[in-house]
Assembly symmetry: C2
């Protein structure tokens, strides 16, 4: 209300984009209907055709990507961002391999579960069907373009792909390739669409298009995700961050505990399933913490501890309240000594992000309680938090990860892009 | 923006209610945590205690309800609304019976599905857990109060119950009874809460309370549901209306077809799974439609037809474009003659509400295509649309019905109030 004029201008700009988006949305709906009736092997054939085209057109794709890289360098993008943006022959081959893995998965559409007979003879089951039309909003990684297209085709969904403006040339070339492969396989090109430009109003129009979008999945940093959540009228599945915990119980096998902590923190610190806070039972802390500090030191991990931790490791920095909810994405580990399992669970409930937690313990009852009572999306016993990943958990490729509980919770594969309708086989039954 | 002052006043009123609601929300979260750790038999015992109290306190509940009825009569509420509002000893006994049926169902919480072994030895499964805190927004029917409380307890969720102001005395008495039963069973009273008043700002505060509400389910007329959808920041599962179709194929058993049409239209015309539009294959229409008209006439059903229908039934009114998407909730039936199965499916896709459709056919391939290709929430063959109901489909009681595809699609039982977390049994595995 403080800027009424600009608000009005923006609103009418969006309203016009919403009308234009409706045309694209209708095409997506028609394509989704055709896809929902296309047998799995024909959808798989299209996924394999995309994989083959990635390899056949490597030179052209690398050339299109070079334009984005040049523009990115000119704009002063950070080296890490430029690296995420870069397509090489090896990365294109990886993208093709991912698609072939998706194609090889069982068809997530059509399975009927729980078919049972009612007392009146009705046979009632639930059949997996596609959600319809998915919107993916992502940032610099061009591999998301073909990964998401492959998973949406696998699950019989049409998709709008809206990548970052810094990858515009790469994504245009990739989507063009995908659409040609669809057409060559006799499937509707409009099963995979991009927005006509990367301008903000187009994204907003898509996020508001309730009749045309069944689900939006934002993939990227927290700022992107918050933008999508704030502006979407369509359902959104997302996670903001991963503050993952390991609890080393009094009965832990210390060798396993050291390996699991090292792997969680050091193997790939910049990802959402990396270990961020370590909780240690006070009965084992005097023995375990010095071993841990020695084990992590060569990797350059900085420890920040509670008072109990610092009593055992006097040199380390004191953890503040902010450290308990920090997603460092770096070689920093917060460490807290807790009196028992209840305190560990309570700490996770208070500071956790519902992402991934692991207990290291040889105590049957402690493991059972941890697995049952911790309500995060992935709860592990005696394994690294780094396994919280669709591929590692057996879903095949991953379309995203959810830390909110509706529809899906945790890593999401092709089957999470389906819903279940009731099917009923009758023989003339009426209700009395 | 046309009424800036009232907007400001309303906004600050809501902001203050949002702060107050946060206190209630924290209590609900704490109760939900305790419930999620409460074994099924103890939750069932509380549901049975509520059932017993409904019978033991019948006189007091009828007296509280009488205040709502008196106030409703004074306000001139319609007789149908007063009837929905009325509690009698027989209706209270029905509510108790529903609760006992819910208690007798298997525990929807804790089941682990798909436990498989990964190549590295990790054992990965998915465990059903409660969603957390549910908000139910409903209208005059006080039975929703105990039905919803029972289903939420069954599924380990805490719940906010916000009934209509016309049922305020009844709902206050019922929720007081429920909370006393919870306390007597050693469960947290705050597992079931109402809002402090029925004023609009409290509902809005709840609908915006993302940290405290995991799911809102509106139950009532389309205006209520649209209000909830428009104002909610929390996820909403809903359906607006049911425009249910029967398609009588050329190969239909005409006796079954007549029974199914009569049952769908006449048995209870005012409900969402009643039949609204009949589609008839042109090859069978000359034989079937005169029989149908004669069969429905004694029940006083008005037919509105396409040109093909009126050529066979000359006396009936012409259907307009609006008739094809009408939810009459009355003894009116729209009838259209279609050239084939494809035209029937296409009509349903164009005008349907994704609720419930049935084919009457003895043709194997036509039935298969209809069950596979129609993507409504409930698709039946040779059975009445009236079976689209949680109880009839075997879910036990019904918490609501969804015609949007995310999370659940169709009638929803206690299991639809759960999600699935990944549980992983390891033996020291780390990721390489």
């Amino acid at each position: 209300m403080s800027q009424p004029e600009s608000t009005v201008t923006e609103s009418s700009g969006i309203a016009s984009r919403e009308r234009e988006f409706a045309v694209l949305g209708q095409r997506a709906r028609a394509a989704a209907r055709r896809l929902s009736r296309t047998p799995g092997p024909r959808r798989d054939a299209a996924i394999l055709a995309i994989a083959a085209a990635l390899e056949a057109e490597t030179d052209a794709l690398v050339a299109a990507n070079a334009k984005d890289l040049t523009a990115g360098e000119a704009r002063g993008l950070a080296p890490a961002l430029l690296d995420r943006l870069r397509l090489t022959p090896a990365r294109l081959a990886d993208m093709a391999r991912s698609l072939r893995e998706v194609a090889a998965q069982p068809d997530p559409v059509g399975e009927v579960t729980g078919l049972t007979v009612r007392p009146n003879g009705l046979r009632v089951g639930q059949m997996h069907i596609p959600l319809g039309v998915i919107g993916i909003v992502y940032e610099a990684r061009p591999n998301v373009t073909t990964d998401a297209a492959g998973l949406c085709l696998k699950s019989g969904n049409a998709v709008f792909l809206r990548g970052g403006s810094e990858a515009a040339h790469s994504n245009t070339a990739l989507v063009d390739l995908v659409r040609r492969a669809l057409a060559a396989c006799g499937l509707p090109e409009d099963a995979v669409q991009t927005l006509p430009s990367t301008e903000r109003e187009w994204v907003l129009a898509m996020l508001r298009a309730e009749p045309y979008i069944d689900l939006c999945i934002p993939r990227g940093g927290e700022a992107l995700i918050r933008f999508v959540v704030e502006h979407a009228r369509v359902p959104v599945i997302k996670h903001y961050k991963g503050v993952c915990h390991v609890f080393v119980d009094r009965s832990a096998d210390l060798k396993k505990a050291l390996d699991i902590c090292y792997n969680g923190k050091v193997q790939r610190p910049g990802v959402c399933n990396a270990l961020e806070t370590l909780l240690v039972h006070e009965a084992i802390a005097p023995e375990f913490l010095p071993l841990l500090a020695a084990h992590l030191a060569p990797a350059g991990v900085e420890l920040r501890g509670c008072e109990g931790t610092r009593a055992l490791l006097p040199g380390i920095r004191a953890a503040t309240e902010d450290d308990w909810s920090a997603e460092y994405l770096d070689l920093i580990l917060a460490v807290r000594v807790v009196p028992d399992l209840d305190a560990a669970i309570s700490h996770i409930e208070t500071y956790g992000s519902d992402h991934t937690e692991s207990i290291v313990s040889e105590d049957y009852s402690a493991v059972q309680r941890f697995l049952n009572e911790v309500q995060s999306a992935v709860v592990l016993a005696n394994a690294s938090t780094r396994f919280a990943d669709g591929g590692q958990l057996g879903l095949g490729a991953e379309i995203g990860i959810s830390t909110t509980r509706l529809h899906s919770y945790g890593p999401m594969g092709a089957k999470d892009l389906t819903t279940r309708k009731f099917i009923v086989y009758g023989n003339g039954q009426i209700r009395s």
